[in-house]
């Protein structure tokens, strides 16, 4: 009897090719996610009434809670209103992707034979267990935050966050009043450059945090199922359901924080002294 192996790979495996475009199992799962969300939205859209009932009630409760939470993070309803649709979309996209990966579709897949060895390729793999997905989402988040910053505080202020030309121009205007500006200006400029580098770090951290957690969860479940197929994996399944939710929550919360930070310019530092508790909470979340 032919032995079929199944190992958890770091990358998503292609299950089909459209020309040169590889359709991986993670991408397939993401399409299912899109379909599920579209279906739910379609059902919800047909039910929307002034007096909520059933699904609309549930969605409204979730939205109200999420909006309150967003308000606590952004500290401003206007920013919440602008960022909320983006953050909640990312949340649901990641959540459904995470949960689809732990659904019991274990036997659903293809057997691929290569060099005389057969390997099982599952059809369903968490979209977020593929680094391409998490990287795409992280890129959207960080670029989105910067574009949001440009639209909110302007292009020049956004550029000045990273390349603090204002600090240098301040040397000529402030040197008489405050000679320490000679030392502070280069430091401010350097801090700006660090912030620019931090934007890449943000992409990397968002990408690898989500990918690492979800992939580790899948490996954990696979290992537990390999040790003992019954009962033992159940608590881990619940753990992964929780982890899937938490990871989606963390990702969307971080996006909210990035967007909020992007919508504030350096000139608002004085404001920080007026509302230190809100800024402190932002920093602790970051």
């Amino acid at each position: 009897m032919e032995k079929i192996t199944h190992t958890a790979t770091l990358f998503a495996e292609p299950i089909y090719h459209i020309g040169s475009f590889p359709v991986t199992n993670a991408l397939f799962t993401s399409w299912i996610t899109v379909l599920i969300l579209a279906l739910v939205v379609f059902i919800l859209r047909r039910q929307i009434k002034e007096i909520p009932k059933g699904l609309q009630n549930l969605v409204e409760i979730i939205l109200e809670g999420a909006l309150t939470l967003c308000d606590q993070i952004t500290g401003n309803r206007q920013i919440t209103n602008k960022v909320f649709p983006f953050a909640i979309s990312i949340f649901f996209y990641i959540l459904i992707n995470n949960w689809l990966g732990i659904m019991p579709f274990g036997g659903l897949g293809l057997v691929e034979t290569e060099h005389g060895k057969s390997a099982f390729i599952p059809l369903i793999r968490s979209g977020t267990a593929d680094i391409n997905t998490t990287f795409a989402l992280a890129l959207i988040a960080v670029l989105g935050a910067n574009f949001f910053g440009i639209f909110t505080i302007g292009l020049w202020k956004t550029i000045n966050k990273y390349f603090n030309f204002n600090a240098f121009s301040g040397i000529f205007t402030k040197i008489r009043k405050d000679p320490t500006v000679l030392a502070v200006a280069p430091i401010s400029f350097f801090v700006g450059v660090l912030e620019f580098i931090a934007e890449f770090a943000k992409v990397a951290s968002l990408t690898f945090r989500l990918f690492g957690n979800v992939f580790a969860g899948e490996v954990l479940l696979l290992s537990m199922s390999a040790i003992f197929a019954y009962l033992i994996p159940i608590p881990f399944l619940f753990l992964e359901i929780f982890v899937g939710f938490i990871q989606a929550f963390i990702f969307s919360t971080l996006i909210l924080v990035y967007f909020t930070i992007a919508s504030q310019d350096h000139g608002e530092h004085e404001e920080e002294h007026k509302h230190p508790e809100h800024k402190a909470s932002l920093r602790s979340v970051t």
Binding site: P22, G127, F135
Partner: protein, 155 residues
């Protein structure tokens, strides 16, 4: 970087596909769920806020009306009390006046009655006197007549 790309099979085509996937999710959620829901929720919130403010205004109006009502009732009560007091005192005065008048009238009537009684008495006495005189005369005449007749006969 190269090893990272080969280890994780990073493929820009899949990255773009995933971006598109998210774009579709975002558009669908935003246009067909979040936007209409937000609109309905805002309208409902507005309605509730308006209802609450209306209720507050109504409560204020009711309170004001109640105060006015209580004030009006108190004023009316005070006026009624005053009127009652005034009426009572007026009635008492009237009663006293009427009693005095009645007493006077009674006294007048009594005195008039007395006077008329005395006049009647005097008249009766006078009439009686007249009658007596007349009777005496008549008796005298009779006696005289009888006496005269017998004398004549004897004669």
């Amino acid at each position: 970087m190269e090893s990272l790309i080969t280890t994780f099979h990073i493929d820009w085509k899949i990255i773009i596909a995933q971006m598109l996937n998210f774009g579709v999710v975002f558009l669908v959620l935003y246009l067909f769920a979040l936007k209409p829901l937000k609109k309905i929720m805002s309208a409902r919130e507005e309605k509730i806020t308006k209802g609450l403010s209306d209720a507050k205004t109504n409560a204020e109006i009711i309170m004001k009306t109640q105060q006015e009502y209580t004030e009006a009732i108190n004023v009316a009560k005070a006026e009624a009390h005053e009127l009652f007091k005034k009426g009572k005192s007026e009635a008492l005065a009237k009663r006293t006046e009427m009693l005095a008048q009645a007493e006077q009238e009674v006294a007048l009537m009594i005195s008039k009655g007395k006077q008329s009684l005395e006049a009647e008495k005097a008249k009766i006495i006078a009439d009686a006197k007249n009658d007596i005189v007349r009777l005496v005369i008549m008796a005298t005449e009779k006696v005289l007549e009888d006496t005269t007749d017998s004398t004549v006969k004897k004669l």
